[in-house]
């Protein structure tokens, strides 16, 4: 009993305290399984119906979900085969395939306003779809559910079940339920890392912050909420913006991030309106009735689809529209009907997105309801549709969130697959385990005393635990470089314990010094070694835009934990064990 009191010195209590705190911070749930919602697109059917971040998905349409692939299977069952529709117009009868929406737009009287579906032209009148005879829009709306049925989706979560009707997949991203609070770095987790550099080197901090807030808004509107975006500086005074998005591939976000997002609608080089809240107070997004793919067809070398979505113009912009269109002439359309002599052209960052004919009835009119359109291409019809949707999503997002206050370029773009990350994690456990075993063997060969080996190994393990605990506490990412840092720090830790042990063992020969003096000597070596390692890691905080800060910080945390927490406790324990 007396011995127990003696071994539990204040220094050992401090170590125990940190171990407990670390376990609480890491909060391990090793047997947790299943998938959870990582993010939900803003203003989507999924969010409107109550799905939110952090919910654990139990079932999708009565299929049990245990893994990511279960979810993907369940969702792929939700995919509908294209439906063949027979469409009769006043000109001819054609058959088309659709997956979720008709790809042409028509007015009250079912006269086609706009279409690039082969066989259906502007001005045609729809008479029949399948066997439904249609006289006006109301007729169509009455049967539209029968022509292209919506599907019921039911998602059972740990916080209740969500059921709704939709044409498409739930607008959520999912991932495995997390087993600990340790945040994995991108190279272990999988995802996209983008380092953006402003084209103008002399950019102010406030402009950088403005860019960051627009980009964050863009990514959030796009449906990505699980992301980190922050300014980064380097030794040479360059400013960067570092964006890290877990579990997303770079081609999804590249265009969204790198585009400055200057949108202009021009008629004959005269700007009618631009992409800003002032000109465009409303953009239709995620609502199939005013946004979606309107037509698809075969073109040279593959397929092309056309998206279209509605926007509302402000009064000022509408006046400008009236003024510009008033100057145009009305000409006869070769396919029938009348149009204006010039097209309206949509530009994004100086590049032409689309060019549309303007109906003759819009001449001089203060039109507030405008449709924006653009194309998407692909090798097959499926990829053309996917790309079109992607282009549309991007343009809508950019119109909603506005343009960046300065032009930027992508300096570094990393896209790590989650599979690769998973492999690295498994491997990393092996690396740590084998490194500990190898060190233990060397120490054992040297001392051949279990009474010395056990505290050394325990100190090593508690050190690793505390490093992870601190990382979890301060939400520091553990990436591959950080793992090397941890191994190096633990290596230094063992070195220090060897110094202490030898000092303790050898000093038995040296009667002139007492225990305190011996330990003081050991610690003077340890502190000097600590100081040199510490300062040699410092410059890495600022070099290379902070990309290797993870390594530097983990190493510094590791050696600090060693010197200030575990080593004093170890000295205490060794003192107790050797003086017994």
């Amino acid at each position: 009993m007396k011995k127990m009191v003696k071994i539990l010195t204040l220094r050992v209590w401090i170590l125990i305290f940190f171990i407990v705190i670390s376990i609480l911070a890491i909060k391990p749930v090793p047997f947790a399984s299943g998938v959870e919602i990582k993010s939900v697109s803003a203003n989507s059917l999924a969010s409107d119906n109550g799905l939110s971040q952090g919910m654990k998905i139990l079932k999708v349409n009565d299929m049990e979900i245990k893994t990511m692939s279960d979810y993907n299977d369940a969702i792929s069952k939700f995919n509908k085969p294209p439906i063949e529709l027979k469409i009769t117009t006043d000109k001819k009868e054609i058959k088309i395939n659709v997956t979720n929406k008709l790809k042409f737009a028509f007015d009250e009287n079912l006269t086609v306003l706009r279409s690039e579906t082969p066989g259906i032209a502007q001005g045609d009148r729809i008479l029949k779809i399948n066997n439904y005879i249609l006289n006006n829009l109301t007729d169509y709306l009455n049967v539209s559910e029968d022509i292209i049925p919506k599907k019921k989706i039911s998602i059972a979560t740990n916080k209740g079940e969500v059921v709704y009707l939709t044409y498409s997949h739930p607008e959520i991203t999912i991932g495995d339920v997390k087993k600990t609070n340790i945040v994995k770095g991108l190279d272990l987790e999988g995802g996209t890392r983008v380092l953006l550099a402003p084209k103008d080197k002399d950019i102010s901090d406030s402009t950088i912050n403005d860019i960051i807030s627009v980009l964050r808004n863009r990514l959030n509107v796009y449906g990505l909420t699980d992301l980190s975006i922050k300014p980064a500086n380097d030794l040479a005074g360059n400013s960067y913006i570092l964006i890290e998005i877990a579990g997303v591939s770079s081609d999804e976000v590249e265009g969204l991030i790198s585009a400055q997002g200057k949108f202009e609608a021009k008629i004959e080089n005269e700007t009618v309106f631009v992409g800003s809240k002032k000109d465009i107070p409303f953009v239709c997004r995620g609502d199939g009735s005013c946004s979606g793919i309107r037509s698809c067809g075969q073109v040279e070398k593959g397929y092309q689809c056309q998206f279209e979505f509605a926007i509302k113009l402000s009064q000022d912009a509408a006046k400008k529209h009236a003024m510009v269109t008033d100057k145009l002439e009305v000409v006869l359309n070769p396919e029938g009907g009348q149009r204006l002599s010039k097209n309206i052209d949509f530009y994004l960052d100086g590049q032409l997105v689309d060019s549309l004919q303007i109906g003759a009835d819009l001449k001089g009119k203060e039109a507030t309801d405008i449709a924006i359109s653009g194309p998407g291409f692909g090798a097959d019809s499926k990829s053309a549709q996917d790309n079109t949707i992607k282009n549309m999503d991007r343009l809508q997002t950019i119109l909603i969130t506005g343009s960046l206050p300065a032009d930027i370029e992508i300096a570094k773009l990393d896209n790590i697959s989650p599979t690769l990350g998973e492999d690295f994690i498994k491997n990393t456990f092996l690396v740590m385990l084998f490194a500990i075993i190898a060190t233990t063997i060397v120490v054992y060969i040297r001392y051949r005393k279990t009474v010395i080996i056990i505290p050394i190994v325990l100190t090593m393990l508690s050190e690793i635990l505390i490093i992870f605990g601190i990382a979890a506490l301060i939400k520091w990412n553990i990436d591959i470089a950080a793992i090397v840092g941890i191994i190096a720090a633990v290596g230094t830790g063992v070195d220090d314990q060897i110094v202490i042990t030898d000092e303790a063992l050898y000093s038995k020969k040296e009667i002139s010094l007492n225990w305190k003096q011996r330990i003081k000597r050991a610690f003077s070596i340890i502190f000097t070694a600590f100081a040199t390692s510490f300062v040699s890691m410092l410059p890495l905080f600022w070099a290379a835009a902070g990309l290797i800060r993870g390594f530097a910080l983990t190493t510094i945390i590791g050696i600090s934990v060693g010197v200030f927490i575990t080593r004093p406790a170890f000295a205490s324990i060794i003192e107790y064990l050797l003086n017994k």
Binding site: V535, S536, L540
Partner: protein, 294 residues
């Protein structure tokens, strides 16, 4: 203690070993500098380009010649294997291309697999960023060195022994760089970080030695005994670290980790020479001269 006596008595002659190592390392580095304009070849992270990792069980032989024939660019290919079974697990392609769209299509045709977010990773660094990083890495190394030297001077407060410790760090880094050259390890942000770590880490044993020999009043212990005591402790330290890192090098499947570990291994081995030959000799002569003088 035959070897021990030989070692203590012939320290001066033994200096020839570290001197030869140093001369060879310096010649190699300067040869590189004169022929290629740089001491160390830089990798993608410091000169711009792309690293592609494909997870596949196909061994994809002939991929080098295919890529060389299709693209006007440099390629270097490494293969990932499962630890233990050596089953092929993936391919790592490094290239100076910054746009990999065409490359991806070519690889899809060649490997006959669809490259998706699940099996395809790519890291692209623009060349301007690479240049900026590369100059900063050098600044960081110099800064780390100066800071380390300041710490050493503050702690030991004597010129010659402090310089000996700093020299040991110089020696370790130079040999590590030469070793990188021989083993074909390029300078990257990761290997530069490993070199920086070495600056602080490799001199642990030198600090141990200097403290034990200079700062300790142990009248009943001879200098040789102090040296042997330091060697016992110091070599246990170095070998414990070497064992952990060597095993890590063998087990890890990450090329980044492999390179970092290898740099540290070379540095630690170099440190055995710089500490137990050079530094011991300098300190021994320093102490002898001091005792004579006063």
């Amino acid at each position: 203690m035959g070897i021990g006596d030989f070692y203590i008595n012939n320290l001066k002659k033994l200096q020839v070993i570290p001197i030869i190592i140093l001369i060879l390392s310096l010649s190699l580095l300067f040869y590189n500098y004169s022929s290629k304009g740089q001491f160390l070849e830089k990798d993608i992270t410091l000169k711009g380009g792309s690293v592609i990792t494909i997870t596949t069980d196909k061994s994809a032989e002939n991929i080098e010649s295919l890529l060389d024939s299709r693209f006007n660019a440099d390629f270097s290919i490494k293969r990932l294997a499962e630890f233990g079974t050596s089953a092929p697990k993936g391919i790592v392609i490094e290239t100076n291309l910054e746009n990999v769209a065409d490359l991806k299509t070519t690889l899809e045709e060649f490997l006959k697999i669809k490259l998706t977010n699940e099996n395809f990773s790519v890291e692209v660094t623009s060349s301007s960023l690479g240049e900026a990083f590369s100059s900063q890495i050098i600044t960081a190394m110099i800064a780390a060195f100066i800071l380390m030297a300041i710490v050493i001077f503050i702690v030991f407060r004597v010129l010659v022994p402090s310089i000996a410790v700093i020299f040991a760090a110089v020696f370790d880094i130079l040999v590590a760089m030469a070793g990188m050259n021989i083993l074909g390890i390029k300078l990257s942000t990761a290997t530069a970080a490993a070199l920086l770590l070495l600056i602080g880490y490799s001199i642990d044993t030198d600090i141990l030695l200097t403290t034990k020999l200079l700062k300790r009043k142990m009248d009943n212990v001879s200098l040789s005994e102090k040296i042997f005591e330091s060697i016992r402790t110091g070599s246990t330290m170095t070998f414990a670290a070497l064992a952990a890192i060597l095993v890590g090098y063998i087990v890890t499947s990450s090329f980044i980790m492999k390179d970092m570990f290898l740099v540290i291994i070379i540095g630690l081995i170099a440190d055995l020479f710089s500490t137990w030959l050079v530094n011991v000799y300098v300190l021994k002569s320093y102490i002898a001269r001091h005792e004579k003088n006063g």
